[in-house]
Symmetry: C2
Subunit: 463 residues, 2 copies
Amino acid sequence: MSDKVLIVDDLATNRIVLKVKLSAAHYEVVQATSASEALAIAASTRPDLILASAHLSGMAAADFVAGLRKIKPLSTTPIILLQTHSCAHDRHAALRAGADDILTKPVQEAVLLARLRNLLRQHHNSYDLTRQPGGGHFFGFAEAQREFQIPGRIAIVARSKPEALALQGMMSHSSQHQFSAYGTDQAMPIVSTQQIPDVYLLRFGQADAEEGLRLLAELKAAQLTHSCPVIALLDKNTSSLAVTLLDMGANDVIIGLADREELALRMANQLRHKRNSEQMRAQLLSGLQAAVVDPLTGAYNRRYALPFLKQLIEDTHQSEESFAVMVADLDFFKQVNDRFGHAAGDRVLCAVTTQLRAHLREGDMLARIGGEEFLIITPGTNRFRAQQTADRLCQMIHQTPIAVPGTSAPLHVTISIGVTMARHNSGCEAHTVDLLLDQADRALYLAKAQGRNKVTFCARSAA
Amino acid sequence: MSDKVLIVDDLATNRIVLKVKLSAAHYEVVQATSASEALAIAASTRPDLILASAHLSGMAAADFVAGLRKIKPLSTTPIILLQTHSCAHDRHAALRAGADDILTKPVQEAVLLARLRNLLRQHHNSYDLTRQPGGGHFFGFAEAQREFQIPGRIAIVARSKPEALALQGMMSHSSQHQFSAYGTDQAMPIVSTQQIPDVYLLRFGQADAEEGLRLLAELKAAQLTHSCPVIALLDKNTSSLAVTLLDMGANDVIIGLADREELALRMANQLRHKRNSEQMRAQLLSGLQAAVVDPLTGAYNRRYALPFLKQLIEDTHQSEESFAVMVADLDFFKQVNDRFGHAAGDRVLCAVTTQLRAHLREGDMLARIGGEEFLIITPGTNRFRAQQTADRLCQMIHQTPIAVPGTSAPLHVTISIGVTMARHNSGCEAHTVDLLLDQADRALYLAKAQGRNKVTFCARSAA
């Protein structure tokens, strides 16, 4: 379906067989005949997935995978290796180097295609948000962090608790992780708010397929667990079940029991994916936070304040509440900068922000919208209380001297405040952001004209 | 699985039956006995999903849904209604008001639970990123926009092209959307890069279930289509197929042919979800962009520059390339502010940014890291070329007068630049962000001490 797959194999016949299969499934196929050629082609064509023989001449599979991972845009691209005969040592090395899966031939076509879809779906979904139009990612997001060594919480779920415990015994032997074991024959929820697992390991077979499928679907649906990777451990000869699980979004599916080391490696891979996306989410949120805050004072900025006001206007259409819009401006601020320098001016702005915030309520919004100009929005207030609030702000600033660098005596500054009230059904013209800011600005102008250090209301604003 | 479901029904027996089913599936259940009680409980308990009778006494189902949608934190919470007898008029009204599904009793338990899982999964996934710890969303993200009227591109896929065309004929009758029809019997890809559909409508039944399931999985996996909603239109008596589709991530599943109006409404719902997430993504990206850019000059800020440098240091460990770190500082900038005012100072900063950027290459990074201080990083350069670049920047600023407000004669300003080189295997102590910035700062200090308007290299930096 137009995703681009790079096939890597020394043998032409193998490449042709794969190309026919993938083309029939509408993939765009590019080919490489050796590991070194593949590294060059992968770097230039940036495939969506790489499907390579585990037996390339001249380079060990693990080294090939490591080489691909070093190419920046491919650090998270799905890589599947195909072994002609199962070799545990090579499997482990490839998984350790960052391969997503290593399958042993013969691989059923349906399973192979399902694995491709599954890895592509995971890949496209997890990195979609930060992908930039020209390829590449938004400043360093989505970089693979291969070094996470944090122990994880692993939940093992099997047909019965003893079976889950047996699996846990095998796993926990040389592991730093914290395990918990559940049997699906017990009527108990396998997640609690206190201890949400990082990774789920579901062990089941054809006989209890329905139970297993439902469990996977439940884990992928619930708020607490939907971002937890799920590894399904299936009995042998369950390939059609594997296809369904892969298409439902299981993060890894192992048919037949894997050895302890392979299981540990696959678990570590999923744990790393989870940590990566948690880190990406934290980066995104802190990035967004930074986008709406004035770095000097920590007050919100214009970018936050104007949509906030717009939203409040819309909300007020559906309620009886009125709110106040205040524009507060430092009086004679230029003199502070001129006489005591920029550092002093900055100090004053920070101190005033702190004081204003201390005297506002929790739902109120304080933003710095110009050099020495602040916007204050107090929802759910009437004119009488807005007057009280604004007067109090004025007084507090007036009464609180500010220590600044460059002079031993603390500075006394004042603010002037222009206020306008907004209310639904006010009978006036419809409120807009511009209108309200304009009204507050005019009121501020009056306060300045009347001598500063005072509060003036917009005459036309709703009472 | 610990998600909270609000059950709303006048009849105690109905509530009890549902409660037993949902509790067995490990949902936390809250109950309401009337529409008005439900509105109050929903507002205070904020359920993850609402499952309500479509026949509440005292309030039409559509009004009830509209009432729920008006409660801010519930604007996107999944709502399922249960009808005791199918009534097209009520169905349409409820869907129009914002219900996600309206099912007619008897509903098979497996289908009901699959629909719950399906809606919860969609809900938790789409809004996860912007959800804040205390509930609520990051400043206005994820608000439902119920007003999108933009025509969409709808792809209809059926067993054969004539069947798809017949469906298209029925749909396009009174629709503003743009349709395309495909038959799965044709060997052609149903997506092209030029015209990616907004919504897919897949029509199939038990006989071609495998084909349909694979198609859904392919659409959900491919980069071009994985975020396109898919509506499955199934033949009657296909409830186990419906369960599988829902658990695979179909966005809506309709069993038995829906009437034209219902299909149009469900399509509009999916289109709205799609537009919403596109909008959310755009907001996020522009928020992130704003987080890394200095609003005055448009250069990057410190928040971007330091991780950029850190990443470059790491990348250089794996390559033979060297890069230059330059700190450029405007000479005597305080005088500009003092003599001509802030507006003039700001104008100078912007003009200098523009000139610096014009003389840097595409991969170079320019950030404003202090009042009049810029950081310039030029990857893939050697000392000779770095010297050329820095000299040229110095000269250009010196030679280009800047028109500013407050004075008729344009200003002449100069910059001083301190440079350090970073290279892998340089034999020096390991590079760190702090070390490189410190070296460049010392070099800058020398340039200032030696008369300004000049370039100085760090003596200890790698040649």
